[in-house]
C-alpha cells in the first residue's frame, strides 16, 4: 500500500473518507460534497444515528452526485480532542473499513479544524501514520487466500492544501513505522523460522541503516560467565545468542548512551517445568521484548535520531530435553550472584539478569530500560490495556508514562518495595527465580532489581500488550509492537540533542 499526499481536490474515483465533528458539524470537504450533491451528507445524517462521535462511521455506497464508489464519514469527536492519536485513529479507521472493500484508491480528506491543537499538516501526517499502521498484515504463509479476502487497496492519498509540509512530517513517522512493522513481523513469525541465530541474523540487517551489530555466541557468553542465560538455552538444539546493536547518532560520539534490553525467548515451552498444551503456540512471541528493541533501533536509525543508543537482546529457546536445565539447578550469573532455578518456566528473568548486567558493565548507560513478556501475573493485574512499569527513578517513570500517553501505549506503575524481595529467598543460593503466585509480577521485577547497579532503570512487563486479541484503531489483531513508538517518543522527548 502506497501513501502519498496531494493538494486538496475531490477525487473522481475510488473511495473517499471525510471527517465529521461531534454534533454533526461538517468539515470543509464534507460541506463541499454536501453542496455539490445537493445535500447528500445532510440527508445521510438525518437518516442515520451517526453524530460525528469518535469511533462512529457511516459508509455510503455509490453516493448520488459523486463519481467515487464509496464515501465514508468518520466521526472525529469534539474539535479540542482532535490530537495526534485522534488523527491516527481517523486514518486507521478509514483503512480498516475500506482495505478489502474493493477499491484500489482511497482518498482521505484533511481539513483545518478550528479548536484542534493540530495544524492540518501534522493532522495529515498522523492520519497517514494511522492508515499505514492499521494496514499491516502478516499473510506470507497464506497460499490460498480468496481474492475477496485480500486487501484491494493499493494507494492512499491524503488530500490537503499543505501537502508538501505533511509529506515532510510523515517521512519521520514513516521510519518509525518501518521499525514497528519489523517488530510485528518478527513476533508473528513461527518458532521454526525465528530462533536465536535466525533472529540474530535479522538484527544484523540493521547494518543497512547504519546500526553496528555484534553477535555473541555461547562460547563468548560462557567466557563472560552468563550462567543464567546459558542455563535457559541449554535444553535447545539451537545455539543461544546475545546481540548488541549500537546506533551512534549523537554528535558527540562519546556521549553516554541510553540502553534498551529485550527478552528474546524465541520459543518458551517452559522447559522441564513444561507449560500446559492449551495456548502454548502463543509462546512463539515470548521474544516480543527483543523484537521491540530491534524495531526501535531500526526506527531510531531511519529517522536519524541524534542519540547514542544501545540495544541488547538475549536470545534463547527454552526446551525440555536430555540436556535441559532441571528445577532445583543452581546457576551463577555474570554478576556473580547465584540463582536456584525453582521453575524453569520463569526463564525470562534469568536471560535478562545476564543481559542487563552485561549492558551496565560494558556501556554504563545513563538509563536502562528492559522490555519483556515476563509474567502471566501482569495480565491478571492490569489486563491488556496497560503494560506494567517498574522503575527505580521517579523522573524516568514520569517520562515513560508521558511518552506512553503520547503514542497511545499506556503504562501503569507498579510497586517495587523491599518487603516483596523476601519472597525470593532461597534455601541454598543467593535467590530463587520465583516468588510465588502473590505479587508475581512484582517479585519478578524485584529479581531483576538485584541485577541493577547504580543505574536509572525501568522494567516494562509487556506480557499483556504484546499480542492483541482484537483489532484496535491502529493495530490489527496480532502482534502490536507495543513499545517501539513509546520508546522512540521517550528518546525524542528526553534524550536527543535538539
Amino acid at each position: 500500500m502506497k501513501i502519498s499526499f496531494a493538494k486538496a481536490a475531490l477525487p473522481t474515483e475510488g473511495a473517499l473518507a471525510v471527517g465529521i465533528l461531534e454534533g454533526r458539524v461538517l468539515t470543509a470537504t464534507a460541506g463541499q460534497i454536501d453542496h455539490k450533491t445537493g445535500g447528500l451528507i445532510a440527508r445521510a445524517l438525518a437518516a442515520s444515528r451517526f453524530e460525528g462521535k469518535k469511533d462512529q462511521t457511516l459508509l455510503l455506497l455509490a453516493p448520488a452526485g459523486l463519481t467515487v464508489q464509496r464515501l465514508l464519514l468518520i466521526g472525529l469527536g469534539k474539535p479540542d480532542s482532535v490530537d495526534g492519536l485522534a488523527a491516527e485513529a481517523y486514518g486507521g479507521t478509514a483503512v480498516a473499513q475500506l482495505q478489502a472493500a474493493g477499491d484500489q484508491l482511497l482518498t482521505i480528506a484533511v481539513d483545518p479544524i478550528g479548536g484542534s491543537p493540530l495544524a492540518p499538516a501534522e493532522f495529515a501526517a498522523h492520519a497517514a501514520a494511522g492508515a499505514r499502521l492499521r494496514s499491516y498484515r502478516f499473510d506470507k504463509y497464506r497460499t490460498k487466500e480468496k481474492k475477496e479476502d485480500k486487501p484491494s487497496l493499493k494507494k492512499v492519498v491524503l488530500s490537503l492544501d499543505e501537502s508538501g509540509e505533511a509529506k515532510r512530517r510523515f517521512a519521520r513517522l514513516d521510519g518509525i513505522i518501518d521499525g514497528v512493522f519489523m517488530t510485528r513481523d518478527l513476533a508473528s513469525e513461527p518458532a521454526n523460522v525465528i530462533f536465536p541465530t535466525s533472529l540474530a541474523e535479522q538484527a544484523k540487517t540493521l547494518a543497512e541503516q547504519g546500526v553496528d551489530v555484534e553477535v555473541l555466541g555461547e562460547k563468548q557468553m560462557r567466557k563472560l560467565g552468563m550462567g543464567a542465560l546459558l542455563g535457559v538455552g541449554q535444553g535447545s538444539a539451537r545455539e543461544s545468542q546475545l546481540v548488541v546493536m549500537r546506533w551512534m547518532g549523537a554528535e558527540d560520539q562519546d556521549a553516554v548512551p541510553v540502553a534498551f534490553v529485550g527478552k528474546g525467548v524465541t520459543f518458551d515451552s517452559g522447559g522441564i517445568s513444561i507449560k500446559p498444551a492449551g495456548g502454548m503456540e502463543d509462546m512463539k512471541w515470548d521474544m516480543g521484548g527483543s523484537a521491540v528493541v530491534i524495531g526501535l533501533m531500526k526506527a531510531l536509525a531511519l529517522r536519524n535520531a541524534k542519540v547514542n543508543a544501545v540495544g541488547i537482546i538475549g536470545l534463547v529457546e527454552n526446551m525440555p530435553s536430555g540436556t535441559a536445565q532441571r528445577p532445583g539447578d543452581v546457576v551463577t550469573t555474570m554478576s556473580g550472584q547465584t540463582v536456584e532455578v525453582i521453575n524453569t518456566d520463569a526463564e525470562g528473568r534469568l536471560v535478562l539478569a545476564d543481559a542487563m548486567w552485561y549492558t551496565q558493565d560494558r556501556f554504563k548507560p545513563q538509563v536502562m530500560i528492559d522490555l519483556a513478556t515476563l509474567t502471566g501475573a501482569i495480565i491478571i493485574s492490569l489486563g491488556d490495556h496497560y503494560a506494567g512499569l517498574f522503575c527505580n527513578d521517579d523522573g524516568l517513570a514520569d517520562k515513560l508514562v508521558a511518552a506512553g500517553k503520547g503514542v497511545g501505549e499506556l503504562l501503569w506503575r507498579m510497586p517495587i518495595d523491599d518487603p516483596y524481595d523476601k519472597q525470593l529467598k532461597s534455601d541454598i543460593a543467593d535467590m530463587k527465580n520465583v516468588g510465588g503466585r502473590e505479587g508475581g509480577s512484582i517479585t519478578a521485577a524485584m529479581f531483576l532489581k538485584r541485577f541493577v547497579k547504580d543505574t536509572k532503570w525501568a522494567h516494562l512487563d509487556i506480557a499483556g500488550v504484546t499480542w492483541a486479541k482484537k483489532d484496535g484503531a491502529v493495530t490489527p489483531k496480532g502482534a502490536t509492537a507495543f513499545g517501539v513508538r513509546l520508546l522512540d517518543r521517550l528518546v525524542a522527548d528526553n534524550y536527543e540533542q535538539k
Binding site: 501475573a377 489486563g383 510497586p415 516483596y420
Partner: protein, 495 residues
Amino acid sequence: MLKISFVAAPSRAEGLAVGLRPGGALPDLGRAAATALLLGRTLARRHSFKGEEGDVLPVLTADHWLVLVGLGPIEQQNSRRLRRVGGGLFAELATSGIAKLDVAFGLDPLEAAELAYGMLLRAWRPAARYRSKADPDQVWSLSKIAIVSPDPSLSQRRLDRLAAVAAGAAYARDLVVAPGNELTPQSFIDRLDRLTRQGISLDVLDAATHGLRLLQAVGQGSAVPPRLALLHWRGAGKTERPLVFVGKGITFDTGGIDIKPRADMEEMKGDMAGAAAVAGALYALALRRAPVNAVGVLALAENMPSGQATRPGDVVASYAGTTVEIIDTDAEGRLVLADALAYAAAKYRPRAMVDLATLTGAVEVALGRHRAGLFTADDQLAERLMAAGEAEDELLWRLPLTDAYDDALKSLAADLRNCDWEHGPDALHAARFLQHFVPDGVAWAHLDIAGLSEAEEDGPLAAEGPTGFGVRLLDRLAEDLAAHPWSKGAGVPSV
C-alpha cells in the same frame, strides 16, 4: 490482659529493657538505669548485638533479666518504627516467663505512647474459648509493662487516644477469626452491641423488604437471612455530611452454586473482613469521641449452596435499578457492595465514601500481601488514603479504575454481568462494576484488601492471622479530614 503504664523511673521489676542503637550511642536515662545501660552495652558487645531495629536479646544477669532492644538509628526514628519496636518486643517476651517488665529507652512522652501502642496492637490473640484447655507454654507470662517517660501523664493521655484505635482493631480481629458457625449475619449484628453502648446508633434492614435485591440474591441460599447494618456515629454538627465506610461482610463464602474447591475453604470465614474493619473503625471513632460524623454500612450475608440459592445465569435488579446477570455466584462480594454503595450514596450524601472488601484473588496476584489495591477516580481522595496508609503501615497501591475493560462486563441478558470468565484483570473488573452503582459526583474509593486482611506469618504489629487491616487507616482518614477539611471541587471526576 496486658497492662501498660508510664513511670518516671524504672521500679525494680524482674526485667528491664534498655534500648541500643547501631554505633552504641547511649540514651540519657539518669542514674537509675545508667548502670544497667553500661552493663547492657558490655553485654551487647559480647553477644555481637548490633542494635538494629527489631533486635531483642534477653540476658539473665545476677538478679534479673536485662533485655537489650535494638532501636535502629536515631535519625530514622518515627512513630511507625517505634510501634514496630514495641510490638516486636512484646512478641519476643510474651511467653518468656517474665511477668513484669520495665522499659527504659529514653523516649519523649509521645514517643513512649507510640511504643506502647505497638505493644497493644501486637497483644491480641483469638479468644481463649476456642480451646478447651490452654497450652501452658503458650500462655502469656508478660502482663505488666511500665515504660519510662519524662511526663507519664502526657504519655498516658496520648495512649488513651491510641488505645481506642487498638481496641477497634482488636474488635475487628475478633470478628474475622470467629468461625462461620459462630458468626452469621444475625450474630454479627448481635455483636454490634459493643458499638451501641458507646453511643453509636444501629439500624438493621432486611434485604428482601428494602429492595436490596443483590444482597438478597447472595444471601438467599443460607438459612440465615442477609442484612444491611447501618452504624451512625454523630461526633460533629447535624449539618455536617458524613464520611461513609462500606464493608463487605460475607460471614462465610462457600462460593454458592459455583462452589469453591475444598482446599483452604475454611479461610472463607474471613470473607467479612471488610465489614469487620468498618465496624472496628466506627468503634474506634466512638471510643475516642471523634469530632466527625461517620456512617458504617455493613453488607452481611452468608453465601451457601442450597435449594433456594441463586443460580448462575440468574438476572437480578439491583437496589439502584441496574440489572445484573450473575454468571458466577462466587463473585458475590461485588453484588452485596453494589446495593450497599447505592443505598448509602442515596441516603447519606457522603463527603466521601470508602468501601473495603476481601474482593478478589486477582489483587493478591497483582500486589501480593504488602499493599492493598486502591481504586478511585478522585485524585484527592487517593492521595489522602495513600498518605493515611503510609502513616499507619497499612499500605495501598493505586490500580486503574477504567472503562477500558467494559466489554468484560457486558451481558446478553442484563445491563451488566458480575464478572468475566476469561483469565483477565478481575480486580479491575470488580472495581469498575462497583463504579456503576456509585452516583457521579460522589467521592468514592474502593479498597480491595484480599491480600491484607490476614497475615501468613508473624509481623511486628500482628501475629499470623487476622490483621484488622483498615481500622487504623480509616481512623486516620477521619482524623485527617477533621483537621484538614476537603478542598473545594473534590469528588468530581469519574470516567
